[in-house]
Structure formats: structure tokens, C-alpha cells
């Protein structure tokens, strides 16, 4: 997988440790085949967990998404 991007943007409700960022970066590099710097941005709206954005690719692993998923399931 080849992508044109400057950085791996990780948003989280609290600041991640360098160890956590390294683990995520390693995982993204391995699966998306990209070698980019990691940036951690704070977003308290996520409540917990984190999101990863690399150019157009996006992964949502936040608690807000989980709550939204539960809400949709209940409404279906």
C-alpha cells in the first residue's frame, strides 16, 4: 500500500506516552507500508481511546465511536 502523506496523526483524549506512540506507529508502518512521523493531538471529545489518520485513511478506536455503535445497534 502506497500513500502520499506527511505524518501519522493520532488523536486521543489524553496525551499518549512515547511507548504507546511507537507501538501504534510500528503497527501502522507494518500494515500500511508507510514510514512517516507520528503526531499526537488532543481531542477530549473522544472521551477515551484514539483515532489514527494517514492521509485519506482513517481508523477510529475511540470510546465515542463505541458508544455511537451501541446507540445505532439499539435503534435498529
Amino acid at each position: 500500500m502506497h500513500m502520499e502523506s506527511d505524518e501519522i496523526v493520532i488523536e486521543s483524549a489524553v496525551k499518549l506516552s512515547s511507548d504507546q506512540l511507537d507501538k501504534i506507529k510500528l503497527d501502522v508502518q507494518e500494515k500500511l507500508k508507510v514510514d512517516l512521523p507520528v503526531v499526537n493531538k488532543l481531542n477530549t471529545k473522544l472521551i477515551g481511546g484514539f483515532t489514527i489518520r494517514v492521509n485519506d485513511w482513517f481508523l477510529d478506536s475511540s470510546l465515542v465511536r463505541q458508544i455511537e455503535f451501541i446507540k445505532r445497534t439499539l435503534l435498529e
Binding site: 504507546q20 500494515k31 470510546l63
Partner: protein, 168 residues
């Protein structure tokens, strides 16, 4: 005869006169009168026959008229009966139609009530879930401390690493 004062000549004359009188009377008076009487009698008989004939005809006409009246009455009764039957049929049809319309209105009303109830239930469910979402969000927002946050993030990083690729 002379002793009785009767003159034979005079008697004969009288007889002749009487005979002549009878002859003339018979010829010029009795016969025409008799003929007239006969003719009149004949006319009267004809008139009576005609009257009888007319009476029979009148009776026939009266009978025909009565038959016609009876027929007209029967036709009239038939028409009235048919009209009554038609009216009853129309009445029954109107009642059936009204009943059907009433049932349709009731069914439609029930359907609308059911739809409204379903919509209200749906809205209530949406509101309840939205409220629960806000409540859960607020509770988590306040309850999660630094340690919990880190624990969640570590768990999610661990979950990510278990995936062969991100699409799975």
C-alpha cells in the same frame, strides 16, 4: 118483412152499401194500417234485437273494460311491488355501503393510531437512547482518570496489533 117495416130493396141497398164500405175500408184503410202496424212491429222487433245486441256488446265491452282495469291494477301492483323491492335493494345497498365505509374509516383510524403509536414508540426509543448516550458520555467523561485512560489505550493498541490488517 114488410110487416116488420123493412124494405127488401132498401135492405139490399144497405147490404150493398155496407159491402162496398167494407171493401173500400179493407182496401184503403185497414190494409195500409195493418201494413203500417206490421212495419212498425218489425221495426220495434229490429230495435229490440238491436238493443239486445247492443246490451250484449255493452256487457262484452264492460267485461273487457273490467279485464283491462284488473290488468292495469295487476300491472300497477306489480310495479309497486317491484318499486318496493327496488327501494329495499337500494336501501340494503346503501346500508351495506355505509357499513363498509364505516368499517373502512374505523380500520383507517386504527391504522393511523397504530402508526402514530409506532412513531411515538420510535421517537421515545430514540430519545431514550440519545439520553442514555449523553448520560454514558457524561459519566465516562467524569469517571475516567489518567490510569483508566491509559489502560483503555493500551488495550486498544493490543487489539490493533492482533489484527492481520486494518480492514478485518
Amino acid at each position: 118483412m114488410e110487416q116488420l117495416g123493412i124494405e127488401p130493396l132498401q135492405l139490399i141497398t144497405q147490404i150493398l152499401n155496407f159491402a162496398v164500405l167494407v171493401f173500400f175500408l179493407n182496401k184503403y184503410l185497414y190494409k195500409p194500417i195493418l201494413n203500417t202496424l206490421e212495419t212498425r212491429k218489425k221495426k220495434i222487433q229490429e230495435g229490440l234485437q238491436y238493443a239486445d245486441k247492443m246490451k250484449v256488446k255493452e256487457e262484452e265491452n264492460a267485461k273487457k273494460m273490467q279485464d283491462l282495469i284488473n290488468l292495469a291494477k295487476a300491472e300497477g301492483r306489480k310495479i309497486i311491488d317491484q318499486s318496493k323491492k327496488d327501494a329495499k335493494d337500494v336501501e340494503a345497498e346503501i346500508i351495506a355501503k355505509s357499513h363498509k365505509e364505516a368499517q373502512s374509516i374505523v380500520a383507517k383510524g386504527r391504522q393511523e393510531i397504530e402508526l402514530e403509536r409506532s412513531e411515538m414508540e420510535r421517537q421515545l426509543k430514540v430519545k431514550t437512547v440519545e439520553l442514555a448516550q449523553k448520560w454514558v458520555t457524561a459519566v465516562l467523561d467524569n469517571a475516567l482518570n489518567e490510569k483508566n485512560q491509559m489502560s483503555i489505550i493500551n488495550k486498544k493498541i493490543q487489539d490493533l496489533s492482533k489484527l492481520k490488517n486494518y480492514s478485518s
